[in-house]
């Protein structure tokens, strides 16, 4: 063997990001996830809980017909708004912070790979793994629902699944942002758990408290709700099977009256913004401000 004897095809790689490299990194992330315990823990837990919810909610639907499909869907939405953000935030937050700490990121970036390729590869791989885990849950619940009550509400079920996917992508994006901002892996994980608490519990309770204390107007209450991605998911998911938003109180009634058919697109836009904005900020931070 002599130095530099290999073909020189690699010698003038263009500096721009290459899809081939991003896919290689994403595939490696996905393989890592499938090899890991956490992936199977989340997948089995989510699928198991979703199946149990579908089975326990469905006896009523056999009595009351398709109208009580809503019970299954509402249970699944509640489960999703707790589990999916926790899964996306914590695992997204570990992506860069953990690999930076154990040196794997340094190993990756010692190759002819730029930071943009690394960032999008890591995000795509993590998002793909978590998508598989959450789809396994929805798939299980969907099969149980279809077997026990027929497939009449399949359209609604698919829409809820897609909304949950959007929520998942948003949470992984926020997790990645936390990961680029944190100096240590444990602090990234702690920040992710705090963010989850803030979005799922504090957001809801805090909003109610603020609304009462400051006599928040109904439009402000509605917009404060949809800027929280978890609440935005809940609203959009309810819209797929609920005949009215009365169950959401004055804000729901206002939303239906003020936005009409534009309501769901507005909420989905909020979810999309929660995917794109954190990703853009995280990418900017990762590519410009980090020593390894």
């Amino acid at each position: 063997m002599t130095a530099g004897a290999a073909p020189d095809v690699w010698l003038d790689l263009p500096e721009k990001a290459q899809r081939r490299t991003i896919l290689a990194i994403a595939r490696k992330e996905l393989d890592d996830a499938v090899r890991s315990r956490w992936f199977w823990m989340w997948t089995v837990s989510f699928a198991g809980l979703a199946a149990v919810l579908a089975m326990t909610a469905l006896p009523a639907s056999r009595i009351a017909g398709a109208a009580s499909y809503g019970r299954t869907a509402a249970s699944l939405v509640t489960l999703t708004q707790i589990i999916v953000p926790l899964m996306g935030l914590t695992l997204g937050a570990q992506t860069i912070a953990f690999q930076r700490e154990n040196g794997a990121l340094r190993f990756l970036l010692s190759h002819p790979v730029n930071r943009t390729e690394s960032f999008w590869g890591l995000y795509a791989g993590k998002a793909a793994a978590l998508t598989a885990a959450s789809f396994a849950g929805f798939g299980t619940a969907g099969v149980v629902t279809a077997l026990r009550s027929g497939g009449g509400e399949a359209g609604s079920f698919v829409r809820i699944t897609l909304l949950a996917w959007a929520l998942l992508l948003a949470m992984v994006a926020v997790g990645m942002l936390i990961s680029t901002l944190a100096h240590r892996a444990p602090s990234a994980l702690g920040s992710a758990v705090f963010t989850w608490l803030a979005l799922v519990f504090l957001g809801d309770l805090g909003l109610m408290g603020t609304a009462v204390a400051t006599r928040l107007s109904v439009p402000m209450l509605f917009f404060s709700t949809i800027v929280n991605p978890v609440e935005a998911f809940r609203l959009a998911a309810l819209a797929t099977f609920a005949s009215s938003f009365d169950i959401l109180g004055p804000a729901g009634t206002y939303a239906a009256d003020a936005l009409g058919a534009a309501l769901v697109p507005v909420i989905v836009s909020s979810l999309l913004a929660w995917i794109l904005v954190p990703l853009a900020v995280a990418w900017f931070r990762f590519t410009r401000h980090q020593d390894l």
Binding site: M1, T2, A3, G4, A5, A6, V9, W10, L11, D12, L13, P14, E15, R20, T21, A24, I25, K28, D31, D32, R35, S36, N102, G103, A104, R106, F107, L108, L109, S110, H111, P112, V113, N114, D291, L292
Partner: protein, 284 residues
Amino acid sequence: MIRIRELTKRYGPLTVLDRFSLDVAPGESVALWGPNGAGKTTVVRCILGLVDYEGSVQVAGLDARLRGKAVRARIGYVAQELSFYDDMPLEDVLVYSATLRNVPVARVGTLLDQFRLHDHRLKRVAELSGGLKQRLALAVALVPDPPLLLLDEPTSNLDAHSREEAIELFEELRREGRTILLTTHHMEEMGMLVDRVVAMDGGRIVTECPPGELAERLGLKVWLHVILRSHDTTRALEALESAGFAARTNSAGILVEVPAQRKGQALNTLHRAGLEIEDLEVWT
């Protein structure tokens, strides 16, 4: 091959590299030598573009900041910490590296044979011994058959046998005509591998010279721990002190401070005084 000018790296108020400049010619083998914190690893990380820096770094005429991918395509890198992915099988690490470098995967088979890793290819990285990890690290570095190798403390985590094996591998790589830049604080074992030593301290170059001259240039001293067969330490101390050596007893023998390149003189002094040496250790 490498041209570094006025390289400066600061972490907050701490200056790790201070206007560091270095040229390494194609085919040359150079060691960055110095204590921990001298800035050796930071130089390597700057060349790889892993950290931001002031100044300029060029590899094969390419600016490392502007053409990072092209620069790294020419470099095989062995990291100080072998922080590969612990759950990955050994072979997958090589395949992944080949994929990232757009090198045909057939190359992996060649490297598995060359580094005698074939029988271990299905083992997870976490299951590998230090020596095997080191061989894997070198195999990964050689995936693109690079003209330039950066070896960061390549023997620091190895036992004596693995270290000897690694040094043989490095000698072979050197004979192949690759340019090598390595960092070390063990000049005794790495000195024979390089054409030139660049001694660093506090982020600056202290001196540059052939490895054989380093100890004299820097006035390096070592301690010889000598166990005498007769345990006649009084006579030994007299002989050494009259020959100009600083010496003292310890619980098991005597300690003699000697210039690093003149260890034999102290031993000759003891021999001439008729004292037989039973055992000897060199403490740096």
